[in-house]
Subunit: 468 residues, 2 copies
């Protein structure tokens, strides 16, 4: 016994002082998910997967870290938020910042000409975490992308339709999809007189309009990014415009603001095609054509969009766009792509809040039968044999790990786990080769023969499940 104690002490790391200094926590901006949270999460993942599969998507997985150079030059000003691995000899790697760049790398590397895939996984950003608002350093993203050389706006329309399907299904409340076009934004900058080398940085400034008022954004444009104040004011007349898709097209045409720019006119024609498709897909009324939408990432080249819940201030819960140049950044193959990310963490916090509000106890296990031993000085072997028969018949079963169990505690455990039935036995049941079944909710009890009892249990469970 002394040997064992010493071994345990050795295993416990010895040195008490060290132990005291230690803080028991997860790294900043990260969190554990409890069984209850996982139940909500897995249900949501299943819903999302069902939606993606409805549109024929396959799934892939990529490493959680990439070569650092794979991520370099893709995220503009946000690149400073990338997590690097320590150089322990060998390659320099970074944790993935999103799922889009690894997807583009995957497509380029495998020379894939077309793919429609979803990917649900965690990404990493050394951002300032606001845990209460669902902003973490490690968080799930859920992406859907269509890569391939296709006809104008067809996959783009399907993406927007799919976002609507998902948001309708998970019941987050009313929402709106703000939509704009990167090339239209560039054309607007050109029309206003923004120098070409300032397009991306002014675009970053416009991107902040959803969080900051115009005056602040203007200040950034003029003071920090040295834009001519008159040019900034011209931008204002554009970015204030938003509304229903076809009405906006009409308004812009009538205003004549874009008439001088051929590229702007071409984009407006493309958007007309898109809006027509969205009408066929029954989602045109969910879209707001919004000239202030910019999206921060550098790689977008076509339409960009962001879904916002309109009856709360949670910000965007889905966003994406077209990025025709990204795959080509990794080699000679150009594969135009369009897709979106679902802001799954925000949706989780909505769902968790609701679960809390409804005070509904979320069931975390799937146990169907709890084996209860009625006599305290019971037969451990018989208990195991009953469980064994249940497991071998594919029935989810549990029992207490006490060798001399108290029957009240066993029923408490069964109730606590929300198990539908208890299977009871004591010395009298062993003698008569029988088992007693109790339906926990109704306290209904009946006796069944031990021989072939699993078939009867399956019947009972099926009947209980069919009840509302």
């Amino acid at each position: 016994a002394a040997v064992a104690a010493n071994a345990a002490k050795a295993a416990a790391g010895g040195d008490k002082k060290k132990k005291e200094k230690f803080t028991l926590k997860t790294p900043k901006g990260t969190q554990d998910y409890s069984p209850e949270q996982m139940t909500i999460r897995e249900e949501l993942f299943d819903t999302l997967k069902t939606c993606f599969k409805r549109h024929g998507a396959v799934t892939i997985e990529t490493p959680v870290f990439e070569l650092k150079e794979t991520l370099t030059g893709k995220y503009g000003e946000d690149s400073k938020l990338i997590y690097d691995l320590q150089d322990q000899g060998g390659e320099i790697c970074s944790l993935r910042y999103d799922l889009t760049v690894p997807f583009a790398r995957y497509v380029a590397m495998n020379r894939i000409r077309n793919i429609k895939r979803y990917h649900i996984a965690r990404v990493y950003r050394r951002d300032n975490p606001v845990m209460t608002k669902g902003r973490f350093r490690e968080f799930y993203q859920c992406d859907f992308d269509i890569a391939g050389e296709y006809d104008l706006m067809i996959p783009d329309a399907e993406c927007i339709k799919l976002i609507c399907e998902i948001l309708d299904q998970i019941k987050v409340g009313n929402y709106l999809i703000k939509l704009n076009h990167r090339r239209l934004l560039d054309a607007i900058f050109a029309i206003c007189g923004v120098p070409e080398d300032k397009f991306r940085s002014i675009c970053s400034a416009v991107d902040k309009l959803d969080k900051s008022p115009w005056d602040e954004v203007r200040k950034e444009m003029v003071d920090v990014k040295h834009l001519d104040p008159a040019v900034a004011d011209k931008i204002k007349t554009f970015v204030e415009m938003n509304g229903k898709p076809f009405e906006m097209l009409e308004r812009i045409r009538k205003s004549g603001l874009c008439d001088s720019n051929q590229d702007a006119l071409a984009v407006l024609k493309e958007l007309d095609t898109l809006f027509g498709y969205l009408r066929c897909l029954g989602v045109a009324d969910k879209v707001s054509f919004d000239l202030s939408l910019a999206r921060g990432l550098d790689y977008y080249t076509g339409i960009i969009y962001e879904a916002v819940v309109t009856d709360s201030d949670r910000g965007s819960i889905a966003a994406g766009g077209r990025y025709d140049g990204l795959v080509g950044m990794y080699g000679s193959l150009q594969v135009p792509s369009v897709g979106f990310s679902i802001g799954i963490e925000r949706i989780f916090s909505i769902l968790e809040e609701e679960a809390l509000k409804n005070k509904k106890k979320i069931r975390q296990n799937a146990t169907q039968a709890y084996v209860v031993q009625l006599d305290k000085e019971g037969d451990m072997e018989e208990r195991l044999k009953i469980c064994n028969d249940l497991w071998n018949a594919g029935i989810n079963a549990e029992f207490t790990y006490r060798s001399t169990p108290n029957s009240r505690k066993q029923f408490d455990a069964a109730r606590d786990l929300q198990v539908p039935i208890a299977i009871m036995f004591g010395s009298s049941e062993i003698e008569t080769q029988a088992l007693k079944i109790k339906v926990i909710e109704t306290s209904e009890e009946f006796i069944i023969p031990r021989e072939g009892f699993t078939d009867k249990v399956k019947e009972i469970l099926k009947e209980l499940e069919s009840k509302p």
Copy 2:
């Protein structure tokens, strides 16, 4: 257009020289999983989850990295394989090395007194990768653990039963579960005369016996770990012993080898209880009581086990044991635990090899209907409307992203995707307000009315699914 071209160039990162130097690959020891691989993986995950839920397990998720000190002092000689994150200001973190240590940290941090959980996730080891043998630096682990103060050997027996259930279900071939007890091993070292401070390092040496012959292991003990050669030779008489559980107990008792050590005798009695339980659970014959089994990790304190496929040389495909001290390393709460890891990557490579051998094309999507437009100069809007009706009815549907499609290519796509039915329309179907259905496998065709067609499609799909 010039603006757009410039934007694309800017997005593409400019500088051609940089691009040329870039190697398109995933980091050493990591890999992407293709849709085909993901299909196999997700099927296996589902099987595993079903098995875990059959035993009432819940699931949790922990961050992919932990504070470095959380991992310190848990892995013995393997600690050098831990991946560290770069110090970018703030906390010092490392990627998780396994799922057991984060689980123990979770239990301690949340002061959980009992939990039965599974966890399927990736872990990270800077080991020398042998990709062809399924040895990676980033790989999936699949853990099941029972934590809580329970009666002797009951959860331990359930773990071994569950390993057998899993291995039976995934059909990896014949297997054997080698089993030993850490405290018995320590007692044996004491009996042989190993100095107490050498217990762990001699244990590490014994652990290599599954890969190296005795002579090499003896050499390590004597030359590297400075063990008295006579002591090493005594160890040999023990570690050569293995066999059926009860037969081995009998053999050890008869040999009198352990009679001098009270702790050894106590462990043998505990094992007698365990083997009795395993007999009730119908798995005693799957176990080989093997005194050479040591397991490398420091934290084990009770039974240890390792499942090996006997008709191949793939090594262990599941392993685990009891670790009663690990949770206590993080605070004052002691929570005895037992569990195991399934070597999921090895199982994958077995399943992938089989799929390759059977040359069966693995279906990666779940599409049920492919909408085919028969006239080349077709009606794009009608096509979208049909898809929209299908999606809204919950039917998985795809269509081509060409605005002027070729009907042969559409059927090729449907066949390639292994979609069961095609839903066809041309100008004549639009005129008669009908749709043509084609069962791809049989080429059977029939006409249904456009109005309410989704109910009919559901019926057809149900009928096709019910066929073998």
